[in-house]
Symmetry: C2
Subunit: 203 residues, 2 copies
DNA sequence: TGCAAATCTGCATTGAGTGCAGTTACTGTC
DNA sequence: GACAGTAACTGCACTCAATGCAGATTTGCA
């Protein structure tokens, strides 16, 4: 059992208070219309203290550092014996996408909207994506040492993620209301785009 | 002929002076070690004037807005009759890559390095990339209306660019400072990344 | 209880970016 | 060539994110 110390519990509570205050204010006044001082005041801490919890204003939108990447790494680790790299990746990303909370919840929806509209937030989001890609590529290479060198693995992962991101970009532009429809169209589009990788597998 | 007015010529000269001063200083003291005031002083303008030429500090690293994208769009427009979407993209990206100035010249090399090391610069770069992708996807969809819907086109372009970017990320990690080496590696990376599509084409 | 470490906080500072207002330089016209 | 209109330049004051520092407070643990 964890048996958290008082210090840690307090810190955790403060952290959540900051995130909640920030989300609240961002929705109410917009990202740029909200200052660190506003957030600090709402969370009942000193302005300076904010920066001992989050390194920057954007950071508060990604309160849990890791997220979906662990699911993908797990899928790579527990792959079936006759799976090729593309198969593993495909299933992993599909699953991570299906049951991830990334589309659900207020913070997630807000984050999505801000990524589209605020440059600083988008920059941070893309950087996190790239980091995740590199990590996945590393594990994929480790899982298939003969079939994929490091560069090949990175290219493969990049192609998959790029296809999804590209599709998402257009889909989100159309303000897709229905989640299921969006998901289906995404699958359709990525299947077409990634056809060569899949066909290579079948042969 | 253009027959530029004096005003325009002067403005152009100042613009170039700013870029040159900035590049010089970035190389000498690093990006974060250089302030707008430093750049302005070196370019012999007032600090405030900098912002009437570039909207932000990053912007100075992309002095010509468009760049390589036109080449890609042209390749799409002048495609052969029996080319499929992937063929067109493949040729377009490789050509754009081969004879683009993006790897040559001091500014380009500096930009590459700063994209890797400075978050703000990377953010801006990625945003430009996404914008370019969307534009290319639009044209690709227009060129192949039945084979690709908008989402499919975006996914395909995303997959191509993602593959290249992913491969490049690993290759550039090894801190290749030499321009020729970098260029060779870039070709290498794109070949690896786009291999599956080429193989699919051959069959 | 009392000491050490972690945490919180205010204060001062730097630097990007913006709005405004006054001045200067250029353009086209009579 | 003088003139009026407009574009560009500049300094000033301001806001806000982010960082360093130092002193106060709280917590962990012997």
């Amino acid at each position: 059992m964890a048996e958290l110390t008082l210090r840690d519990r307090k810190r955790r509570r403060t952290r959540r208070a900051i995130v909640e205050a920030a989300v609240e204010l961002f929705e109410e006044r917009g990202y740029d219309g909200t200052t660190i001082a506003d957030i600090a005041e709402a969370a009942e801490i000193g302005s300076r203290t904010f920066f001992s919890y989050f390194a920057s204003k954007e950071e508060v939108l990604w309160p849990e550092s890791d997220g979906r990447i662990v699911a993908v790494l797990e899928a790579i680790a527990t792959r079936a014996a006759d799976d090729g790299p593309a198969d593993v990746l495909l299933r992993a990303l599909r699953e991570a996408n299906r049951d991830s909370d990334d589309m659900v919840g207020r913070t997630a929806a807000l984050r999505m909207r801000l990524i589209r509209t605020v440059p600083a937030v988008r920059g941070r989001g893309l950087q996190l994506q790239l980091d995740a890609q590199r990590e996945i590529a590393r594990h994929l290479h480790a899982a298939f040492p003969e079939e994929l060198d490091e560069v090949g693995a990175a290219a493969l992962v990049g192609a998959f993620v790029g296809a999804i991101t590209g599709a998402l970009q257009v889909l989100l532009e159309e303000a897709g209301d229905d989640l299921d429809t969006t998901r289906r169209r995404m699958t359709e589009a990525t299947d077409t785009a990634l056809g060569p990788w899949m066909r290579a597998r079948e042969s």
